[in-house]
């Protein structure tokens, strides 16, 4: 359902989406597609790099929320889950909200769609390493497609920053992202690290073990730990795994 909803959201967008975090821009005149299915916060981004440092595109965020509780997957809907930390949407109160299949105790889902501008603020190219600082800004709308307030449709803004560093064997990144509208606030902070299992090779896939810890305000999950297997090929980056709460995680990045 979540994947279907994400696809629906993508179809609703007039054009593909802007890559936001995780590896914002590739090279000048390239287009990068990044799809991430990772409930409760999934994304689809498409970005066009018009210079080495600047990109424009679209971004869609599919976020599962709960009207009354922030679940860890163990509490019943509307039951004794702990309250949201920060997220202030959920216009109407809970009562009688139906559960969205596959979303734990989530009973609402929002679609945040943005036109985005991505800027590579700084890059350091070392002889055997690279580090970057990225900024991503977006303007668009938020709408509630599932839940107690199906008529929610209002203007929204997004901002994100990411700092990453990598060698051929190690990767680390920290990022923060906020989505804001007049009645909704969704925030995410993430730390991600990884180690390559083999030496980098241009002709073969390089497997990595990655671990991401992300905190999300205003969703059904406050903190998630997500170990994944990353397969890095020269044309794509694929990540597959599941959070310690059992949520599946899949991500594909492709540059063309």
């Amino acid at each position: 359902m979540g994947l279907l909803a994400l696809a629906t959201g993508l179809a609703a967008a007039t054009t593909p989406t802007a890559e936001s975090l995780a590896a914002p821009l590739a090279y000048k005149d390239s287009t990068t597609l990044k799809l991430t299915y990772s409930p409760p916060w999934s994304t689809a981004d498409l970005n066009r790099a018009v210079t080495t440092h600047d990109g424009f595109g679209l971004s869609v965020n599919w976020i599962e929320t709960s009207s009354g509780s922030s679940g860890d997957g163990s509490s019943d809907e509307g039951g004794g889950g702990h309250p949201h930390h920060g997220g202030s949407t959920s216009p109407a109160a809970s009562g009688g909200a139906h559960s969205v299949h596959g979303m734990g105790n989530a009973d609402q889902a929002e679609l945040w769609s943005f036109v985005t501008y991505t800027r590579l603020l700084q890059r350091w190219n070392g002889s055997s390493s690279q580090a970057n600082i990225w900024l991503d800004l977006g303007a668009g709308t938020v709408s509630s497609l599932v839940g107690t307030n199906p008529n929610l449709q209002e203007a929204a803004l997004s901002a994100a920053v990411q700092i990453d560093a990598e060698t051929q064997r190690l990767y680390g990144a920290i990022s923060a992202r906020t989505l804001q509208s007049s009645s909704a606030s969704r925030n995410q902070a993430s730390i991600k690290t990884g180690v390559a299992l083999t030496a980098a090779n241009y002709e073969r896939i390089q497997p990595w073990i990655m671990v991401e810890v992300r905190g999300m305000q205003g969703t059904t999950m406050d903190v998630e730990v997500i170990p994944t297997l990353r397969l890095l090929h020269r044309r794509y980056v694929l990540e597959l795994g599941a959070s310690l709460h059992g949520h599946p995680h899949a991500s594909l990045r492709y540059t063309f």
């Binding site: 005149d29 350091w124 190219n125 055997s128 990598e166 020269r234 540059t255």
Partner: protein, 105 residues
């Protein structure tokens, strides 16, 4: 005569420079070894390869991730110089650390 002999290595290297990337035109069929800063993964290298491939006259591009180097060949159709290659790598987001002629493989 002795002066010529003494200067011969310099004269030969100057002639080579004029015929190759540092000069206004390049020698046909010359192979080059490029060392690139920041090229830490195959995904990065692919962008560099695409940019270099787009330059007319460049062929036989091969990437060695272990040494973070790229080998390529400039042919008769190549009308650029070192700066042309440096700029292509810059547009891919990386830095050309060094470029040297190398025996063809």
């Amino acid at each position: 005569m002795n002066v010529f002999m003494a200067l011969r290595p310099f004269l030969l290297s100057s002639l080579l420079a004029l015929l190759t990337l540092g000069g206004p035109a390049t020698a046909a069929g010359t192979s080059w070894l490029l060392k690139i800063n920041g090229m830490v993964c195959a995904f990065c290298a692919q962008g560099i390869q695409k940019k270099l491939t787009a330059i007319p006259g460049i062929s036989d591009i091969s990437v060695d991730m272990a040494t973070r180097t790229i080998r390529l060949r400039t042919g008769e159709g190549f009308r650029g110089n070192t700066e042309t290659i440096r700029q292509a790598i810059k547009e891919a987001g990386y830095v050309l650390q060094s470029i040297e002629p190398t025996p063809a493989r």
